[in-house]
């Protein structure tokens, strides 16, 4: 039908470091050697934490746990582009973000062992409690961003979520509000290709997730989510834009969930081993190791030392978490309101006709 074209759009993808460890020099973000080694250490720490959590779960020492294996670069690379004063709104699969920002390891173990106190974010950081309800927390990032704008504070909000979350109504409403008010939010989607058993292609008929930003009048970009440099660079640009008043950005980190959905899941029921094998060769840590090798950064000894440090930190954290006294019965009631209602106070004292 011959008609007038009102607008044209495009959606692009950023790749910097390939699986062989070769990189596009022009795109490589300006990171010092120390910073690159630090990124590497954070990737290693994330993976090691993850492995330990999985084995603790098998031993019954923590509860259901969602592995981040394969997604370390998406998490570390993006979080590394944030300032400590920025606020983070995670879903439940962002351990690498927590670790990058310096969240106490012991608290994470404590939380996954079923203790709410693990979600008490230390002062000086603002990582909100994990959002179990998929996609619903994006609105909180939008609201906080409106707050920062209102207060004239140059704080950026980073909201993390998965490919599945893009189907939720709250995703849409959050993106729309962010666009309308041009708020300082960076929306970071880890498209790990699966929402439990539902593959990305059946989550939406859109060719990319990144293009969804077009519906809201701001930019979306897809990045190789297993490429820590690409993720870092895209996030840093988005954060700068947000801080400078340029409004929101949507970053689709194209990555892969290497493990089961959680420890309660059996991914072999719904996806092929070949697919998983194929992604193994795109491992985010391996390619950074190769890159460092080629550049002569962090040789074997240094890497061994990093491994050692990481293990020690994790061991200590597990011990600390398990040493914490269990929560008390009264903790059940204490934090529902600033002040207990009469009925809660009565229940806390063990009264109330058989209340706990």
């Amino acid at each position: 039908m011959p008609t007038t074209i009102l607008e044209t759009f495009s959606v692009s993808r950023l790749d910097i470091l390939n699986p062989e460890g070769d990189c596009d020099e022009e795109l490589l973000p300006p990171l010092s050697k120390e910073e690159i080694v630090r990124l590497y250490e954070l990737l290693v720490l994330s993976r090691a934490f993850d492995e330990r959590a999985l084995s603790l779960q098998r031993e019954g020492r923590i509860g259901t746990y969602p592995s981040i294996r394969g997604q370390e670069a998406a998490q570390v690379g993006s979080a590394y582009a944030l300032q400590p004063a920025d606020w983070i709104f995670p879903s439940f699969r962002e351990t690498g973000v927590h670790l990058t920002m310096g969240y106490p390891l012991a608290s994470l173990f404590q939380y996954w062992a079923g203790d709410e106190r693990g979600l008490v974010c230390p002062e000086g950081l603002n990582i909100l409690p994990v959002s179990v309800s998929v996609g619903t927390h994006l609105l909180h990032a939008v609201g906080a961003a409106m707050g920062a704008r209102y207060r004239n504070e140059s704080i950026v909000m980073a909201a993390y979520f998965g490919d599945g979350a893009t189907s939720k109504g709250d995703f849409h409403e959050a993106f729309n509000f962010a666009g309308v008010y041009r708020l300082p939010v960076v929306f970071i989607c880890q498209n790990n290709q699966w929402a439990i058993s539902v593959p990305r292609g059946r989550q939406t008929a859109a060719q990319t997730l990144a293009q969804k930003a077009l519906a809201y009048g701001f930019d979306g970009i897809q990045v190789d989510g297993n490429d820590v440099f690409a993720v870092y660079r895209a996030t840093r640009d988005a954060v700068d834009r947000a801080r400078g008043g340029g409004g929101p950005t949507f970053i689709e980190c194209f990555t892969y969930r290497m493990s089961h959905h959680t420890t309660s899941d059996d991914a072999d029921r719904y996806r092929s081993r070949e697919e998983v094998e194929e992604w193994k060769s795109k491992d985010p840590i391996l390619r950074l190791e190769r890159f460092m090798e080629k550049r002569g950064l962090a040789g074997e000894a240094a890497r061994r030392e990093i491994g050692q440090r990481t293990r020690t930190a994790i061991d200590e954290a597990v011990r600390a978490a398990e040493r914490m006294p269990p929560p008390e019965r009264r903790d059940l009631y204490r934090s529902v309101y600033a002040e207990c209602t009469p009925r809660l106070a009565q229940a806390m004292e063990g009264g109330g006709n058989g209340d706990a």
Binding site: V120, L139, F177
Partner: protein, 320 residues
């Protein structure tokens, strides 16, 4: 002292509180230029500007979710849901998030926000414009629910709600918006959340009501020696005042416009049956809306509790 209707009283409360505390912001559909479909926010945009009186896109979940984010950040948003019947889309945000952030983070993050919503039947409006679904929100630990029954209570309770450290649902009975005028002082006064008001003292029967039903009950029961309790806060409700009165009268009638089954009257009756059973001389009666969706204008008079039903129930109680 000015004589105001409830629209004006709420408007005054908002204005004063926004002047006093620059953390207070308003968000909602048509709350800015239009001043709200009931004109409750009239004049506030001019006075406080676009940064503080924010017209939003049409999305209730986002309105509440954004308010949650604002409150987490330390502000004190007061949002308007245009009619209570449109709040259901925000149910998840209210119940899974606003109600739980404090508990989830063991007090590190909190949601001091207020959701204002016009509610209730009797204004001959379209479907979903006359809902009375307060009971849902009373089954949400972490949320408070407040229902003023007149202009004076509206202002005092709204100030308390805005200053409350926890999320408060503030329900404004539309039928009363312009029906009742009362003296409403300018400036500082608050009515505490969680306290009921004995609207009329009496000895023979305790009648509990809130919102627009209070007005009906007061009128209908003039000929009786009834103690009438204006509940004001539904969650957490003032069981002390309720039980005290029941111990005195031994007879209870609860009146609400929401459907009977699992309405808030159920909790009141259950609490009384649990804690004041030995004082009771008669069954605990409820006069309530029937278990049907609120009908359109031509059937609504059959729906809403009226003087005849209220009096009949009191007379029944007095026969025991």
């Amino acid at each position: 002292m000015a004589t105001l209707n409830m629209v004006q009283a709420v408007n005054l409360a908002l204005r004063e509180e926004m002047e006093r505390d620059d953390r207070v912001l308003i968000l909602g559909e048509d709350v800015g230029q239009d001043g709200g479909v009931f004109r409750v926010t009239e004049g506030l945009l001019d006075r406080f500007g676009k940064g503080r009186v924010v017209d939003t896109p049409l999305a209730e979940s986002a309105i509440v979710g954004t308010a949650i984010g604002l409150s987490l950040y330390g502000l004190r948003p007061v949002v308007e849901i245009q009619f209570l019947g449109f709040i259901y889309a925000a149910f998840d945000q209210i119940f899974a998030h606003a109600a739980r952030y404090r508990n989830r983070s063991r007090g590190r993050y909190t949601c001091p926000l207020v959701i204002r919503a016009p509610y209730g039947s009797g204004i001959k409006a379209p479907e979903l414009h006359e809902e009375s679904s307060e009971a849902f929100f009373c089954h949400m630990p972490g949320i408070k629910v407040v229902v003023p029954s007149g202009p004076h209570a509206a202002k005092g309770l709204l100030l308390s709600a805005i200053r409350d450290p926890d999320p408060v649902l503030f329900l404004e009975p539309t039928r009363l918006y312009r029906l009742i005028r009362e003296e409403v002082p300018e400036g500082e006064y608050t009515i505490p959340i969680g306290k009921a008001r004995v609207a009329r003292q009496g000895d023979d029967v305790t009648v509990i009501a809130w919102g627009s039903m209070l007005e009906r009950v007061m009128k209908a029961l003039e000929p009786f020696n009834a103690e009438i309790i204006d509940l004001l806060t539904l969650s957490p409700f003032d069981s002390e005042t309720v039980l005290g009165s029941v111990e005195k009268t031994g007879r209870v009638l609860i009146v609400h416009e929401a459907p009977r089954t699992c309405g808030f009257g159920a909790e009141l009756a259950a609490t009384i049956a649990e804690e004041a059973m030995l004082s009771l001389r008669a069954p605990v009666l409820r006069v309530a809306g029937p278990d049907v969706p609120v009908p359109l204008a031509r059937l609504v008079d059959y729906y809403l509790p009226d003087a005849a039903r209220i009096t009949a129930a009191v007379e029944e109680l007095l026969r025991y």
